[in-house]
Amino acid sequence: MTAAKTQNTREQLTSAASTEVIIEFNRVNKWYGDFHVLKDIDLTVHQGERIVVCGPSGSGKSTLIRCINKLEEHQKGSIVVDGITLNKNLKNIDHIRTEVGMVFQNFNLFPHLTILENLTLGPKWARKMTKADAQANAMVYLERVKISEQADKFPDQLSGGQQQRVAIARSLCMNPKIMLFDEPTSALDPEMIKEVLDVMIELADTGMTMIVVTHEMGFAKTIADRVIFMDHGNIVEENEPGKFFNNPRHERTKLFLSQIL
């Protein structure tokens, strides 16, 4: 009995991340005009941690993760990513851009380029890889998301699920330290959701730091080290998945879970 319990804790320890902090939010505030989207956000993410963010529509989930790679700018507080404080310094932005990958709800692949070109553009220009290296690198990741045979097609010739897997591969090609996912499966037909989630689970197994905005609670239970619930620009509750789903502390979390589960 006790042996089983220690076994259990050890497993959690290995899945939980190292102690090195990779993202740190410190009293971050953001406004869109007069609208207060993020209110005093404090958040610490360790290297290798997998975090799922959920919450009602308009609660600021996308804004939160888009602040991490500087797609959005925060106005108050500080964000430190990979040891670099995000500010107006252009050099820093360049660095963050190459270290943080992002996958969007509607893929944002480049429609005028082939899949292979989609994957090699970043490494060639931002990582200064040679063309041959970039292509070899791209094929490795296409292999990993299981669509290497589509390399010469154009994005609109693929299904939604395939496109999203290409988008994941495109980010991985940059060899990022952190991967952000903004509702990666919500634009997909139900039968394609699984193929994308499978790829993400495999990625989680490699120890990648991941922050995923999603309403796929099954997925959250499988991979998350922590689940964060947001509402009206606040982080309302933050807990490991077991406790989060089984006995949420806040009324709002309970209400939300009862609506989506």
Partner: protein, 442 residues
């Protein structure tokens, strides 16, 4: 996506109206009494017009004569094309010395040679070919057309242009036959296989450097006689002005459009006011301003000739119009494309040149070509400020003693000329549009 195979044979034949010409006519021309009546009236009008034109312009026309008087003697109410034919050289080349016309013809031929690879299959790096056309060809043709002493700058640019033209042509020939680019093909020439990309580049640049030096030495040995711009004229001058205008308006327009969308307030305000200023003034005003105002701003002793002033004015004017076309095109690109580019680490200029512009340009082609057509036609305004472009030439026929008063034929000829050029341009733009929109959809 489901693939629906067309069935081999449909069981019901399509109605008559869809297939046979008779059916089509019944449906579209004679469907009702009124429609039938209209059809006949229209046919009658077309008949009268065509018959009149035919009799005047072809059947009763005079093709060979020495003066307008002679034309009248031969045929009282036919067209006198002899006048146009006698002036044909002037209509095309203005008062350019007749012994030097080969330079213009060669210049035009070289332009075709330069651009031909753009239309050939299997040729790589077409972007570079296009860019060199815009940036280097003008120096080559500029020297051919104007001649005279080459300054050191001109010598360098001329050499660059010649090396580039030769390189392009060889590259394209290799491309068509082997599907490789010139740098990829080089090592094979020496029987080397499996070379590093770096070595490839080094070989290529060595080759370029060596040929640059060789061509530079060679070009020092010859030159062509100077021909002052005042002798330029006719269709040639029209094409020079509008050609430079077209080539510089697109890059200029892109820069202005990006400036107008810039986050930096100074750049934005400057671009916006510049664009709005030029767009709210007619071209003829800009031309007058250019020829009378530019000299006031220039440092003393520095004289710009009228042609250069006109060309600068035309370029600025059209850049401003194209800036708005480009801005419209940029707005069709969803925000997600910028964000996608951001996440793979591309910077502003990389995003613009690899992701945004290629997609936006596709949407802009019809508008760009439309702009070019109106630019070509607007160029005729320079005849008002005293340059003898094609329209100026056509009109001076009627002042030439033997052909005094011959207005109609030259102008009709000019109309046909412009129609042909513009029609070809617009047809080609349609073709380009169709080609680009289906290119990757097998």
């Amino acid at each position: 996506m489901a693939i629906i195979k067309p069935t081999k044979r449909s069981t019901i034949a399509p109605p008559l109206s869809e297939t046979s010409p008779v059916g089509w006519m019944k449906k579209h021309l004679f469907s009702s009494t009124l429609n039938t009546l209209l059809t006949f009236v229209t046919l009658f009008l077309i008949y009268i017009t065509v018959k009149g034109l035919w009799v005047w312009g072809i059947a009763d026309a005079v093709w060979v004569a020495d003066s307008r008087r002679e034309c009248f003697d031969i045929s009282m109410d036919g067209a006198c094309w002899a006048g146009v034919i006698a002036w044909l050289d002037s209509i095309f080349y203005g008062r350019y010395p007749r012994d030097e016309l080969w330079r213009i013809n060669l210049g035009i031929l070289l332009l075709f040679v330069w651009m031909a690879p753009l239309w050939l299959p299997r040729v790589k790096a077409k972007i570079y070919i296009g860019l060199t056309t815009v940036f280097l060809y003008p120096f080559l043709s500029g020297y051919l057309f104007s001649g005279g002493d080459k300054g050191i700058f001109m010598q360098l640019m001329l050499t660059a242009a010649i090396v580039c033209l030769a390189g392009n042509t060889i590259h394209a020939t290799i491309g068509v036959f082997t599907g490789h680019s010139l740098p990829e093909f080089l090592p094979r020439l020496f029987g080397i296989k499996d070379v590093q990309e770096k070595t490839l580049h080094n070989m290529f640049f060595t080759l370029i450097a060596v040929s640059f030096v060789a061509v530079f030495m060679w070009q020092m040995g010859w030159g062509v006689e100077k021909i002052p711009w005042t002798k330029w004229g006719g269709l040639f001058l029209t094409l020079v002005i509008s050609g430079v205008g077209i080539a510089s308006a697109l890059p200029g327009g892109i820069i202005l459009a990006l400036g107008r969308r810039s986050k930096m307030p100074v750049v934005r305000v400057l671009s916006t006011s510049f664009i709005e200023l030029f767009r709210s003034v007619p071209l003829i005003t800009v031309l007058f301003m250019a020829t009378t105002m530019f000299p006031l701003f220039l440092p003393e002793g520095f004289v710009l000739n009228k042609l250069v002033q006109v060309i600068i004015a035309v370029c600025l004017f059209n850049a401003c119009y194209l800036a708005e076309v480009v801005r419209g095109g940029l707005q069709t690109i969803p925000k997600g494309q910028f964000e996608g580019a951001h996440t793979v680490g591309l910077g502003y200029w990389q995003t613009m040149s690899f992701i945004i512009m290629p997609q936006a340009l596709k949407h802009m082609i019809p508008n760009i070509v439309g702009n070019f057509i109106s630019l070509l036609k607007d160029t005729t305004l320079v005849s008002i400020i005293g340059l003898f472009d094609v329209l100026g030439m056509l009109r001076s026929i009627s002042k030439d003693l033997p052909w005094l008063g011959l207005h109609r034929e030259p102008l009709i000829f000019g109309a046909i000329l412009f129609f042909l050029i513009c029609f070809v341009m617009s047809k080609y733009s349609r073709h380009l549009e169709a080609k680009l929109s289906t290119e990757h959809k097998n």
